[in-house]
């Protein structure tokens, strides 16, 4: 902490003018984005029960207005309008904890990264709200659901808008709380209650890391303001109290918990116990992105400790292949999508780890839309076949629920990486960057994951929509397409799933000049100032996209791989796309799986991670706890109890000395007197 005050003073002096700039109307608009859903939550929590089937009006309205304001703010930032500029605009609202050197101010900060997150969170959030009107219409907890959804929106928006680590942490925990409430929404179901508990506990493990990371940042820098702390950390990376490598890993631990990276990935598949809109909103499109956002936001910390980035990349790509391998054999439609989410999040972290921050945010945005679409679509399928989630009891649904089928097909093509849909661009950018930044192993595993992604997505489509119907004959006649309040959000999400990749990576006119950019692509231009520090620390230089060089080759390869995966799935699980009409081939599937029995069993049992956790924490942990309980009872408690009972016994016996009779005491006095006088005489006599 030597000379900390001086450093801090210079850092603060450098940032103060920016902080006090006049934000005009935005000082009001940005807090409103958070306050509107907060008001919606509070009002619904109080009066929602009485509103009955109209309970959605206030929450959806609040999010709708927040969406409009958020879009104004986001696009003002992206266009570099007045208060934002290229660096972003922050405003401190009040000092939360004014305590000597520990000052925490509550404020917001909006730059282009925040703007990108605002677009994803608000748009998908709004569409999920609308979709829920249809999906939850028969649920007795209708109003409760919307209250929770609004609480989640508050937390998530606070998380991306806050400018202080402590406020981010508060939002981080609020997000965890609303996730807990929503996973366990059907609390009468033991599996849902258990899954909620599991998600909460696993997240806490990561949160401990994040909390320690925040403390480490404060010890190092003396400030919790994100920008000030970043500036200080990177300027003094060599002479910190706590090494920056440790800080980076602690922050990453928090990100791992929230974004469900190995080994904290076990909660996400179980979180599918929640209602499907929740899975779409929280566990696919927004909350799980919080970890990616955090790492991207603190990119200078990671860039200052390149070793930590290798760890990030390794964990990311390992999660990607692990989850993809599990997704290939799951039969629960939502679980396939959950593992797919894990896998794609792994891609994002791998991308962050190799230093391709922009590519990670690119994939975050495209993935948010097409995964939100896929989840909402799966909800529509589940709705159609009367709450059946097992794909073995679906099949041939394409004709019965055409809107759901078409939108989910679009989403699957997008995630599989077939051009020109969104997923292709972002995934290819991640893989290309990994290869060019010298992480060939990440690229190699990533290509493999891309193959598996295309395969399991078309396995899902094949099992669900194509081939013969295996639906329960009792339900068969009642299969129906969802109401338009549910299919409209699907189509609205399908549009960005098709075009977003192309738009965000489009290099030239007409979009570039609109935002004052002439760079390599729209998103790269937007995020260039945000990641300038990190990129500079890593010493990366921008290279032009070589269509006929390495970039073109990698691009072609990833298309080929995606097509191989897709066609492979068609051959095994059937296809029904106009001229391509193949029958599913269950015998071949059985033959293939029996050739690699170990891999098949591992994938089916999720690589036994739940069993491993059960062994470590329930069996072994239970033994340790039982021993600790025995030790506490037999040794600690008994010591205390024995001391107490000895004291009581001694007291019982000694109290007989106190007879309460005056003469006994007087006798004591007399004997004492005689002893004293006698010993005086003896001593005085000897002294003479």
């Amino acid at each position: 902490m030597t000379g900390l005050g001086v450093h801090l003073a210079t850092v603060l002096a450098a940032t103060t003018p920016e902080g006090t700039a006049d934000g005009g109307i935005f000082d009001l608009l940005v807090p409103l984005i958070i306050l509107l859903p907060l008001a919606g939550f509070l009002i619904t929590a109080v009066v929602g029960r009485r509103q009955g089937t109209q309970a959605h009006l206030i929450p959806v309205g609040a999010v709708g207005i927040a969406w409009a304001i958020g879009m104004v703010v986001a696009f003002s930032s992206l266009m570099g309008a007045a208060p934002f500029g290229a660096e972003g605009y922050g405003h401190q609202i009040y000092t939360w904890i004014p305590s000597d050197t520990f000052q925490v101010a509550v404020g917001f900060f909006v730059d282009n990264l925040t703007a990108c997150l605002l677009i994803v969170v608000l748009t998908i959030g709004l569409l999920v709200h609308v979709y829920s009107i249809g999906y939850m219409s028969h649920d007795p907890g209708y109003w409760r659901f919307f209250a929770y959804l609004n609480l989640f929106m508050v937390s998530m928006l606070l998380l991306v808008l806050a400018d202080s680590f402590l406020v981010v942490f508060v939002a981080w925990e609020l997000v965890g709380l609303s996730s807990y409430l929503l996973i366990g929404f059907w609390k009468h179901k033991p599996s849902a209650a258990l899954a909620a508990k599991k998600a909460f506990l696993v997240n806490r493990i990561g949160d401990v890391g994040f909390a320690l990371g925040i403390m480490a940042i404060f010890v190092n820098t003396g400030t919790l303001n994100i920008r000030d702390a970043m500036a200080f950390l990177t300027a003094h990376a060599g002479q910190l109290t706590i090494p920056i490598f440790v800080v980076a890993l602690l922050v990453f631990a928090g990100a791992m918990g929230k974004s469900a990276q190995f080994p904290l990935h076990v909660w996400l598949p179980d979180a599918m116990e929640g209602p499907t809109p929740v899975s779409a909103l929280i566990h696919a499109a927004t909350m799980v992105n919080a970890g990616v956002y955090l790492v991207a936001r603190t990119n200078p910390i990671f860039a200052s400790a390149p070793d930590s980035m290798v760890i990030v990349a390794a964990i990311g790509i390992f999660t990607a292949i692990l989850a993809a391998s599990i997704a290939m054999t799951q039969t629960d439609i939502k679980r396939v999508l959950a593992y797919s989410t894990l896998s794609q999040l792994g891609y994002m972290f791998a991308s962050l780890g190799v230093g391709a921050f922009t590519a990670a945010i690119f994939h975050l945005m495209t993935h948010g839309f097409f995964k939100g679409l896929l989840f909402l679509g799966s909800g529509s399928v589940i709705h159609a076949v009367h709450e059946e989630q097992d794909m073995r009891r679906m099949g041939g649904l394409a004709k019965r629920i055409p809107h759901t089928y078409r939108t989910m097909l679009i989403g699957s093509i997008a995630i599989a990486g077939i051009p020109p849909l969104a997923g292709f661009f972002s995934k290819d950018e991640i893989l290309g960057e990994a290869f060019k930044n010298g992480f060939q192993w990440v690229w190699l595993i990533g290509i493999l994951v891309a193959l598996m992604t295309a395969f399991y997505m078309f396995r899902l489509i094949g099992l669900t929509f194509w081939g013969e119907s295996r639906v329960d004959p009792a339900i068969e006649p009642h299969i129906h397409e969802s109401p338009s309040v549910m299919t409209t959000p699907l189509w609205l999400l399908a549009i960005p799933s098709i075009f977003l990749g192309l738009i965000l990576s489009w290099p030239g006119p007409p979009l570039g000049p609109l935002f004052g950019l002439h760079g390599p692509g729209l998103l790269a231009g937007w995020l260039e100032p945000v990641f300038a520090q990190g990129t500079q620390l890593l010493g990366r230089t921008e290279t032009d996209f070589a269509v006929f060089g390495i970039d073109g080759g990698l691009l072609l390869l990833s298309i080929v791989v995606a097509v191989i995966g897709m066609v492979g799935a068609w051959r095994l699980f059937g296809a029904d796309l106009g001229r391509i009409s193949w029958r599913p081939n269950p015998e071949r599937v059985r033959a293939l799986t029996s050739r690699v029995p170990f891999l098949y069993r591992a994938s089916l049992n999720k690589w036994w991670f739940d069993d491993l956790n059960h062994l470590i924490f329930i069996v072994i942990g239970g033994r340790v706890a039982a021993f600790a309980w025995w030790f506490d009872r037999r040794v600690v408690d008994d010591t205390v109890n024995d001391i107490a009972s000895t004291t009581v016994g001694a007291g019982t016996r000694l109290r007989r000395v106190q007879t309460g009779r005056v003469q006994n005491y007087a006798l004591g006095i007399a004997i004492g007197l005689i002893v004293m006088a006698g010993s005086f005489l003896v001593l005085a006599g000897r002294g003479r």
Binding site: G660, R661, Q663, A666
Partner: protein, 131 residues
Amino acid sequence: MIRVFVGTALTGAFVVGLGLIGLAAGGSRSLNAYLVLSGLLFAIGMFGFLARRNAISMLMSIELMLNAVNLTIVAFGTFVPKLAASAQGSVIALIVIGVAAAEATVGLAIVIAIYRNRKTPLVDEYDAMSQ
């Protein structure tokens, strides 16, 4: 009643006998005689205090002990030349008498108060503290 007479007579004989021992030890001009008498008085007072159950008797025994000490002080005041010149012994004895009077007053007041409460002068029944 006869026991009282016998007791009184025995005590009287005892005191007279001891007085004779004192005279034999040196008569009225000897310090030792006073000290022996004083010691005897103190011993009697202590015995009375320990042996009697009646609170009034115990107070009387205390008075006896105080007076024994007073006698010692006066005797030293007379026989030690340095003290005799300034009459310090007598002054201290007067103070002790005053204090003893005050002590007796307070003691009696307490005894009467307890007596009104417990309806007994016997101290071994004042055992509320031991229960």
